[in-house]
Symmetry: C2
Subunit: 414 residues, 2 copies
């Protein structure tokens, strides 16, 4: 199904959602640092979170809220401080952040979700947070797609948002979203009930479609697995990763039940938005100059293909070669070769944007480093690795490792 995404849309695009992005004063830079999202009607919610053992206090709060299986009304997000590794005080701060926002919004504390992103191990300056919440409540507006998306940024250079409108039967419905990423990006989030795996990124989706909670989770699970869970920037994974979807039903469509054609359509639309944002996140990754689509196939199963793709995507030697447009394809075979996935080297083929580079484990006949270097100089290219005749396949979106990545992260504090 074709969806027409609007990069100018955002979390306020669906009916009944208002948002705000303000400067509370958490960032030394004075950039916007607190975002708020509010739904006029109670919204069903589904969420996925980091699997890091050091899951941040706001993540734990959101898990508790979502496990209540009750509708929610709002979300408050701060950047600058992650409220991770902060123990009981951090947990109390997350709860207080939700409670204060709830009071100012006239809703219940457990109807408000919270997120934080920034430095690990520091406590939230609660006075500043409360001040930001005051400002945000005043600023709430249906026109805040951009302001909210900017307020959740950390090392991002551009805000990332999108919306899509499509029909469910007779009813037009809209999905809006915003996300931030840049560093600590290797998401493998799972539904908060499931056994967690990992991802630092924040992603918020809103929709005016009406869905049963379980249907919303089905859609989130599909969209997540085909978007944020297949990107790797630096291979590092955070304590705060959060993906939330709020559905307030104000479109008035017949409520979508699980395992129906309608949930399938909704899930595809959600996936389209999530893929758009996931790719944008890689493009805007810390110091990124090259976007690389890794296509691995021929393994016994998809998990094996994924393991090989992640081995390549995490390889400093592959990533620096891409950065330097160095036609050093041996590094890719090398990274596949130590991925602990079994395959026959003599059955390996490698292509860059359709240019044959390796055939049966050897330099492809007539391949030239010059032509490969031409591909590598592009802003974006595909690397296709086939390791056999098995049915396993996986596509992963990743990037290069540049001087700027080192620069950004060798002194994150300043």
């Amino acid at each position: 199904m074709e969806f027409h995404l609007s990069p100018n849309g955002g979390v306020c695009s669906p009916r009944g959602f208002r948002a705000a992005g303000v400067t509370a004063g958490l960032k030394p830079s004075g950039q916007p640092d607190l975002a708020m999202l509010f739904s006029e009607a109670p919204a069903q919610v589904a969420g996925a979170f980091t699997s890091n053992l050091f899951a941040a206090a706001p993540v734990e709060w959101d898990r508790r809220v979502i496990r209540k299986e009750r509708p929610v009304r709002g979300v408050v997000v701060n950047s600058g401080v992650a409220n991770a590794c902060t123990g009981a005080r951090g947990a109390e701060d997350a709860r207080a952040m939700a409670a204060y926002a709830a009071q100012r919004l006239g809703v219940e504390t457990d109807e408000v979700l919270v997120s934080s992103t920034g430095v690990i191990g520091e406590f939230l300056p609660m006075e500043t947070i409360r001040h930001g919440i005051d400002l945000a409540v005043e600023a709430l507006s249906p026109e805040a797609n951009q302001a909210a998306a900017r307020a959740i940024m950390t090392t991002d250079t551009v805000e990332k948002r999108v919306s899509v409108t499509f029909s469910l039967g007779e009813t037009p419905v809209t999905i809006g979203a915003m996300t931030k990423g840049a560093g600590m990006i290797a998401p493998q989030m799972t539904l908060c009930q499931s056994r967690p795996r990992q991802a630092t990124m924040l992603a918020y989706f809103t929709t005016d479609a009406a869905l049963e909670r379980e249907a919303l989770q089905q859609a989130l699970d599909q969209a997540l697995g085909r978007s944020f869970n297949r990107i790797v920037v630096d291979g590092d994974t955070s304590t705060n990763d959060t993906m939330l979807v709020l559905a307030n039903g104000m479109a008035g469509n017949p409520v979508i039940r699980p395992d129906t054609p309608e949930v399938k359509i909704f899930a595809e639309a959600l996936e389209a938005c999530a893929v758009f944002l996931a790719k944008a996140m890689v493009m805007d990754g810390e110091g990124v100059t090259k976007f690389v689509e890794l296509q691995v196939s021929g393994t016994l199963d998809d998990l094996g293909a994924r393991q090989i793709a992640e081995s390549i995507a995490r390889s400093p030697l592959c990533k620096t070669a891409w950065y330097g447009a160095d036609p050093n394809w041996g590094r890719i075979l090398c990274a596949a070769g130590y991925s602990h996935v079994p395959f026959k080297p003599t059955q390996v083929d490698l292509d860059f944007d359709g240019l044959p580079v390796v055939r049966s484990g050897l330099a492809a006949p007539g391949s030239s480093p010059e032509r490969l270097a031409e591909v590598l100089r592009k802003r974006s290219f595909q690397v296709s690795l086939s390791v056999g005749s098995g049915p396993g396949r996986f596509v992963l979106w990743t990037c290069d490792l540049s001087h700027d990545y080192v620069k950004i992260n060798a002194d994150y504090h300043t």
Copy 2:
């Protein structure tokens, strides 16, 4: 037991070994690029090799030679071209390299081991190799400790060699060694009979001690596990990793049998040399400015501690923070938290050179970023992470990720 290592020694220090390092013409730079090692007497040999599925042709040749369980006489090593991912022609080139050296040395082809290091996917220029072998045979000398160690270097900035002399009963015996490393360093080599794991590094040990082949393997296995198999530079692992130990028995000691007090003493001496060289390899890693000893403890078993240590040692965010002396300790907890090793965040303690940084998963009382930054500005420091009360522990030696690492690897060809 105390061993007095000599950094001026090398592979020629034991009786009956001669070596050479010459410029065959493989490197555009004109630096020495071919080394030869020769034993006047037949030498027992033990070896460990990369586990990469794309094991290079010389690795496969050496495995075949060692599996014959017969004494050997020499080793030829070239830098500049790795002879990896070169198929049948690469295999024939490796054999021809051994055969030509054997002929010039007046020994059998299967008495000569070969190694290659450099760019993957290119064929050996055999004319140049033969020319180098001619030069090396002429240059063989008992004074070539430095020349041989220099000829195996790639991106290394200093040659790495050592020797030690100690007593076995009444008999003084000597071990000499040389190694190269710098990039693609995350060795986890295994004996060529065992199921392989991984490592790019070359390490050659010689000794005039007399050992049965199995005793020599026991010693290699112990030394390897406590040295090269516990270092990580970039976490990338090569197709050519090789560790060889040649024992020619010319010291005249009673032949050492397996599982004896003598083999234990010999293994400790071998280990002392290997640890010295492994640390030197990390110090001289590509772009390295900081040497970091990671001590992880409190896991259920040593493997869990190792997995956490490797997760930290491979984390670009931890490594860039060390480079920038950024007191961002949260990144270390984060990397431990996504290592898939189970532990309780509330039981985690973290120290840098004895400075308490984290206690029970929280910033240690009175800890200051300034004092932590002081430690991080040192050329070398210890990071001690305790994640519980389990008996598991592991020590790993690693380094930072600097601008120079990116510079060196973004254009390896030039």
